[in-house]
């Protein structure tokens, strides 16, 4: 995926130069350019920006002050005609500090450093807690008079038996929860769990195959209730 760059500089000539540099580098794309820091707030809010080329001396709001007030800023490269802000650069954890006039070689050096950091970050976040990694989410269920923590990835399907429900877990284990199935269903995300029968809820991502009448999870065949059939097949089709 391309690295999305935003240029914030009040001088049109500087913007033109930096954008022509960006266009020469494969893997970079320009999402926008602003001639003041106030507009940059709007762009950051509405778009994903990976790399920010930021001038410092601008009317109304200094680049450094702007950066201080942004929550979760992207990677930043200062581009300025002044040498006096290097210390702020350390404080604000910027990637590089380019002094105008910027040569293409110097620009490339800054960009390659930023690229390295961004790809590091991306790897880190995809391994870590970003979206679609639900492996550590959990709920506490009422088991033996106390609430016990169960990781949701462990749950294969849920079966009702009278006033209890049985959580069928990975590795052939199961847990008996003192709660009715409809009451327990309210705790579960409908994007992740699916009621398929009066007595059964399944974890959608664990389904290995299905037919109009039953669902297979591992070695278990779970019936699809007549009342639930249309909705179940609708969800499974997507």
């Amino acid at each position: 995926m391309n690295i999305r760059c935003l240029i914030v500089d009040d001088e049109p000539l500087a913007v033109r130069l930096i954008s022509s540099y960006i266009q020469q580098v494969p893997g970079l794309e320009i999402t926008g350019a602003c001639n003041n820091a106030i507009d940059a707030f709007t762009v950051l809010r509405e778009q994903k920006v990976d790399l920010l080329f930021l001038d410092i001396k601008m009317p109304k709001l200094l680049g450094t002050d702007f950066l201080r007030s942004v929550s979760n800023p992207p990677k930043v490269i200062f581009i300025t005609a002044y040498r006096d802000y290097a210390l702020d650069g350390y404080e604000l954890d910027i990637v590089d500090y380019l002094l105008k006039p910027v040569s293409f070689t110097r620009f490339m050096k800054a960009v390659s450093k930023a690229t390295r950091l961004i790809s590091l970050d991306n790897n880190f976040s995809s391994i870590n807690t970003e979206y679609n990694n639900n492996s550590d989410s959990f709920l506490y269920f009422k088991i033996d008079k106390e609430r016990q923590k169960v990781l949701l990835v462990e749950i294969l399907f849920i079966e009702s038996s009278k006033e209890y429900v049985k959580l069928h877990l990975e590795g052939g284990k199961s847990l008996l929860v003192k709660q009715g199935i409809s009451s327990l269903e309210k705790l579960l995300s409908p994007h992740r769990f699916l009621r398929v029968h009066r007595s059964y809820i399944v974890t959608i991502e664990k389904i290995s195959s299905y037919s109009p009448t039953y669902i297979t999870i591992g070695n278990n065949k779970i019936p699809i209730g007549r009342l639930y059939k249309n909705e179940v097949l609708e969800v499974l089709k997507h």
């Binding site: 049109p12 350019a33 994903k48 929550s71 989410s137 923590k149 949701l152 995300s189």
Partner: protein, 171 residues
């Protein structure tokens, strides 16, 4: 840093009609992290953010009242270990948000006061997503559940962003 981020978000960025959903999620995470400082090990929080979250827009601070409520009426009223689960997922334009917090069985701990905050959110939802949302809240055994399902609007972000790059067109 987290606190200043939250403040600047509330003060400056929330003026927009809509913000990136991913931004809103990072604010939720920051807020919970702050509360976690207070509770320490006593609080166990489960996060799940999944589905088509990238590039979706949402009205700002929509979930915040629910989260604050969960802390205020739920976990802060309890002794010992407390837990909470925050689950948000998006499939196409359908968003599900569910927040669950432990609460004492004793009825005093779940006062009718929940009213004002939730009522305001309902009004706001009614204005912003008329007919496209479903909000349920209540106690189920000894946990408090709020679930919200919402049909997100088609995003119109591209238009407004273009106005910010007039300089590029002359390049």
């Amino acid at each position: 840093m987290r606190l200043s981020g939250l403040l600047s978000y509330v003060l400056y960025e929330c003026k927009a009609n809509e913000v990136l959903l991913s931004k809103e999620i990072s604010i939720i995470k920051d807020y919970v992290a702050l509360e976690k400082e207070r509770y320490g090990e006593r609080l166990d929080v489960s996060f799940n953010f999944s589905g088509d979250i990238e590039d979706k827009m949402i009205v700002p601070m929509l979930f915040q009242p629910f989260i604050e409520n969960a802390f205020k009426h739920g976990t802060s009223q309890q002794l010992g270990k407390v837990w909470m689960s925050i689950d948000l997922s998006v499939k196409k334009n359908q968003l599900y948000f569910k927040i669950i917090n432990s609460c004492d069985n004793n009825p005093v701990a779940v006062p009718e006061k929940h009213g004002v905050g939730i009522e305001n959110v309902k009004k706001r939802l009614g204005l912003l997503y008329p007919g496209n949302f479903k909000l349920q809240n209540g106690v189920e055994d000894d946990v408090y559940i709020v679930s919200l399902s919402l049909e997100l609007k088609e995003s119109v972000i591209k238009k407004s962003s273009e106005s910010n790059i007039p300089v590029l067109k002359t390049v």
